[in-house]
Amino acid sequence: MRTPVPDAEPARPRRWRRSLTGPSWLAIVAAAVLLLLIVAAVFAPWIAPYKPTVNELGDAYQTPSLEHLLGTDEFGRDLLSRIIYGGRVSLIGVAEAVGVFVVLGATLGVVAGYVGGLVDTVVTWVADVFFALPGIIVILATLSILANNITAAMLLLGVLGAPALAVFMAGATKTVRAEPYIAAARVTGLRTRQILVRHVVPQVIAPLTVQVSLFAGAALLFQTGLDFLGLGTQPPQPSWGAMVNDGASHLGRDLWMVVPPGAVVLLAVMSLGLLGDALQDLRRGRLRAPAPVNTHAYRARTDRDEPDARAVAASAEPETVLAVRELSVATEDSGRTPIVDNVTFELRAGSCLGIVGESGCGKTMTALAVIGLLPDGVTTTGGSVTFAGKDLIGGAPRSYRTVRGSGIAMISQEPVANLDPSFTVGAQIAEVVRRHAHVRHKQAYQEALRLLTQVRLPDAKQVAKRYPHQLSGGMAQRVVIAAALAGRPKVLIADEPTTALDVTVQAEILQLLRELRRETGLAMILVSHDWGIIADSCDAAVVMYAGQVVEESAISQMFEHPRHPYSEGLMRSNPYYALNTRAQLPSIRGSVPRLGDWPLGCRFAPRCGYATEECLTAQVELLSVDTGHWTRCIHSDQVAAPGEVLAS
């Protein structure tokens, strides 16, 4: 482990859609303030109303007036003029420090990052030492020898700051270096120096400017601090720091003299900070510019005049544990882009329902909406989720709290990422047990051990003591399942529970889930893109496309005879079906339409081989084709079972 540096780019809240805005007005004001201070300092003799060092004892200690806009000091010198002139030492000092900082730090960093190896190691090591170096004492020692030599102090400050920049720039350079076009440039025989100048440097300029503006602020504070201590600019020459000190010695008389110079430093450093923030935001914006959102009128109608035919048909039968009716999910921004559109299904006690579809069809969002854990920026816009006779969405805001964990539980894709890295496995499971069963710590831990045994982990006691990073993927998923079962839920939502695992482990986890369902009577919603997994585990399936349910039936019916071209296409593209044929594995042409860009008619029509004129013009409702078999296709009678298709 090396000296920890806080994340150079701390994560910001994940917004669903961020707009790329230019520099804010604050940043413009900040830039203007800095420009004004610089221009004033440079052209001081022409701008300043008075000479900064001429005493007018008769005018001493004045507060602001038309004659002296910022008042006067104890010698009657005009404070405004002294501030204008005083900017000069600060400006020069900061320029010196920043110059050394950039030249030394950026050069070393870019070279270290590009060359890597020993050079990089040495730079990192030196930076680690410098990082902890009490720079103030080194600079004080310098100033004790080169009395009042602010130039030497500021140059030294640049040297002391440079290694930190070098490490930062080395990191940025490494990122650029990993880009394919750099490799391409090397292959084409460009010299290292040319590659650095032409390809690397332009890429790392942006992060550099951010660092420079922040360092400049610190340098200004440092420079004025030295002047404040009387170690730099000597009277009667004006400097902001010395002016504050001067004012402080007359506090008994009046506070005013301290205010203008102090406020100027505050303002200048604040402007540098704001500028740094703005540059950072700009850079982030450029890196993660959002995909332009298509707002043309060619958008699916989401508000229905009539209720879904099936929603009316599906009455809450006693054996139904979970009923989802006309559930809709959309983004919270002004665009209200729909993500899930009027989804209806129900889950019977002890059964397993599969939700199938490609990425971006709304499977996971449906699952998250059911348990009320949609990410920020996304919200349920309609429908109901009924569990144990209570509507969770329309009900009291607290209704979810009593249901999660003990009624509905969830497991998801990345098992290790779904465990808190800071607590042992046993502690995390016992916590859930305690939350729902109100037992003592010891009993809860015993129960946690039992759960670990139940998910077939050998040596539960040992596993319970481990931290998540000490687990393999398969073990971690078993632990996650144990934690999900700890509240004795009736329904388990499994969102792609095996996608992140090795194939052999996948089968084991699916086997475990089947056994657990048998042992505990758990009902399950299994979200997957893999028909094989659905076929092995589920009793019924819902196929989703572009936010809608396009087909639903019992699993045997679905496989015998899919009634929607999308289901058929998914089955045909599954390797499981292709095994018997020498034909190339077919795929569905085209891709899932972008959110909010759904076609007006049948959403699958643009990718569908059966599509006719009629499909493109009007929305298609879910149609009943058989008992408990629904499809959103007007050509369902033409859709062939994949086996037939492949045989022909």
């Binding site: 910001r12 990082f131 902890a132 170096l133 004492i137 004790s144 020898i145 004025t224 504050v244 996650v480």
Partner: protein, 313 residues
């Protein structure tokens, strides 16, 4: 864990040598050196050469450095060339002052900054703007200026706290508390703003992680998720920033000790600087370095305590 610590200590060794040797070299480069300072206005080249010989300053610099090191190893840092007082005594008197300020400032920064950061992370938009604004001011405000303003308000206007001086806790505990309140606030408030920002950013990042969603899915209550799980995972970066903050506080205390007329390590070093009192500066360099090393070791220990991954490394 052991590796982390041994690495930290291994890095500290060169740090000691770099800092002390650097100041030593600077000392040797002084035109006329210490002797010129001692002799003051009566200095002539002959007299300086004579005194240099007496003080052993004409020997090679490495020999002098070795002497200083071995003396330092025996707890002797030499005497001030200005008043001949032992450097260890001079700095020993200043150490409690500076430590009071550093520890106090860290306490203020943590006690105010971390809760503010957590609260603002829960109210993403407005909270973020408030914390961003505060941390910007915290970053930008010159602490000598803040110190003067606070001193003016609480001492000149309200007359509730002393504007200067330091009362040792052995003399009067309440007096000590009153004497450090203003300087500690001056140093701690900007620190609180910086910590709040880091806490907020880390909390938002952690609260967006998968395991937080999983905890919610398991029915764990929101306060437990925020204060037990998210905060613990967010504190790593905050503690790291705290280490950097302590290094920055060495400059801060130097300025603030001057503002509030306290004889701490920093103000002793500043006086020594203007008097060219190099043995004192050399000693202060050693003390400052020890403070930094101790701070970083503590940071490493806390981070390892927080993060089992670091512990098992």
């Amino acid at each position: 864990m052991l590796r982390t610590l041994s690495r930290r200590l291994a890095l500290s060794v060169p740090l000691f040598f770099v800092v002390t040797f650097l100041t030593f070299v600077l000392m040797a480069l002084t035109p006329g050196g210490v002797s010129a300072t001692i002799l003051g206005t009566s200095a002539t080249p002959a007299k300086i050469a004579e005194l240099n010989r007496q003080l052993g300053l004409n020997r090679p610099i490495l020999v002098q450095y070795w002497d200083w090191l071995s003396d330092a190893g025996h707890g002797n840092l030499g005497n001030s060339v200005v008043n001949n007082e032992a450097v260890t005594r001079l700095l020993g008197d200043g150490l409690p002052v500076t430590l009071s300020l550093i520890v106090g400032a860290v306490v203020v920064a943590v006690v105010l900054g971390v809760p503010l950061g957590v609260l603002s992370a829960r109210r993403a938009r407005t909270g973020g703007q408030v914390v961003d604004a505060l941390s910007l001011v915290g970053y930008a405000v010159p602490n000598y200026f803040l110190g003067i303003m606070l001193g003016y308000l609480f001492s000149n206007v309200l007359d509730v706290l002393p504007a200067s001086g330091y009362t040792p806790p052995a003399v009067s505990l309440s007096g000590w508390f009153e004497s450090i309140t203003l300087p500690v606030l001056t140093l701690g408030l900007p620190g609180a703003a910086l910590l709040a920002r880091q806490t907020r950013q880390s909390m938002i990042e952690v609260l967006g992680r998968d395991y937080i969603r999983s905890l919610r899915a398991r029915g764990i209550s929101e306060p437990v998720i925020v204060y037990k799980h998210a905060l613990r995972n967010a504190m790593g970066n905050v503690v790291t920033l705290l280490g950097i903050y302590v290094v920055g506080l060495l400059l801060g205390t130097t300025l603030i000790e001057t503002v509030f007329a306290m004889r701490g390590l920093g103000s002793v070093a500043v006086t020594a600087t203007s008097q060219h009192d190099l043995p004192v500066i050399e000693g202060a360099a050693l003390y400052f370095t020890i403070i930094v090393v101790v701070a970083f070791v503590l940071v490493d220990l806390i981070r390892a305590w927080l993060n089992p991954k670091l512990r098992s490394q």
